[in-house]
């Protein structure tokens, strides 16, 4: 039985059909811990109230035996994919922008650190 031209055309079309995909996924709190903001914070002087006023509610509050820590996290995933039906490839890169602030028992800031990745780095 010979395949009709339509069947061959469909099969060939399916073979040649290619696609691509791209997506962004963003989870977490709004990033407010740029250097221009955190320069307003001083270890030993700023308080938890100051940090909350500048950065808003954190992702997590951690109790440390009388002391405490505020943790801010923004998770960004960037994916790109090649879809060729017979071969498909997806690459997903996830980076974590984050900031952590430690306070003593009087709610005074003792240490903090921040990390921001460039948005185009993925």
């Amino acid at each position: 039985m010979k395949p009709s031209a339509a069947v061959i055309a469909m099969a060939l079309g399916a073979l040649l059909l290619g696609g691509c995909a791209q997506y962004d996924s963003k989870r977490g709190v709004e990033v407010n811990w740029q250097d221009t903001v955190t320069t307003q914070l001083v270890n030993g002087q700023s308080t938890r109230r100051d940090v909350l006023a500048l950065l808003g509610p954190p992702s997590q509050v951690i109790a440390l035996d009388g002391e405490s820590a505020l943790y801010y996290l923004f998770e960004r995933s960037q994916g790109k994919g090649l879809i060729l039906l017979v071969y498909n490839r997806m690459q997903i890169d996830t980076r974590y922008d984050r900031a952590i602030f430690f306070f003593d028992q009087d709610d005074v800031l003792t240490e903090f650190a921040t990390r921001l990745y460039p948005t185009d780095e993925g």
Binding site: A14, S59, A63, L85, Y87, N88, M90, I92, R98, E111
Partner: protein, 193 residues
């Protein structure tokens, strides 16, 4: 024509899919700080940790980087209108780094450990009728989002879960664990949820 059709059919019968995950920033070039390093110095060197938990006499901080490569190959007659049988093969490779730093109540480093791995993450083969009931490669527990995103919701679980929140590994008070830790062993096995 027959050869052409046979080659075309073979092409349509199989498909290969690869998933590559890169979670976090590489830690290859990061040196472990020496004992008695202050918290401030450690944070300056490594940045904010990705995981953190209080301990009885201080706290632990952890940094991690995961690289997961998942690939699968499937054969099916679906494209030819006969999707009654499919054969699948899958494999996963897992590479990663994990840094764990322990600080005492004076915020001085008491221990620093590093774990690096490049392992086979499992895989499988299957022949399944009509539907793919079983996935031959499962990376879900390795690619899940960070626990900090769910922190507030821990108090909104059913009563047994809420009562055990303080010992949850994701609460920041009950210790921490790496991705992919089996749930049937260790502290998780004691959870009532």
């Amino acid at each position: 024509m027959k050869v052409f059709c046979a080659a075309l059919t073979c092409c349509l019968l199989s498909a290969c899919t690869q998933w590559h995950y890169d979670l976090g920033a590489p830690l290859d070039n990061v040196a472990l700080p020496p004992e008695n390093t202050s918290l401030a110095e450690a944070l300056q060197l490594l940045g904010p940790p990705l995981r953190m938990s209080a301990t009885d006499h201080g706290f632990v901080l952890a940094w991690e980087h995961w690289n997961i490569r998942e690939q699968s190959l499937g054969f099916s007659l679906g494209a030819m209108g006969a999707d009654f049988l499919s054969a699948d093969w899958g494999d996963m490779r897992v590479k990663g780094d994990f840094l764990l730093l322990t600080f005492n109540e004076h915020r001085l480093l008491t221990s620093a450990t590093r774990s690096t791995w490049d392992n086979d993450g499992g895989g499988g083969q299957s022949i399944q009728p009509f539907f793919n009931f079983v996935s031959v490669v499962d990376a879900d527990d390795l690619t899940e989002s960070m626990p900090q995103h769910h922190w507030g919701s821990y108090l909104l679980q059913s009563l047994p879960g809420t009562l055990n929140e303080s010992s949850s590994l994701d609460s920041g008070r009950g210790g921490l664990q790496q991705r992919g830790t089996p749930s049937a062993v260790g502290q998780q096995s004691l959870r009532m949820d």
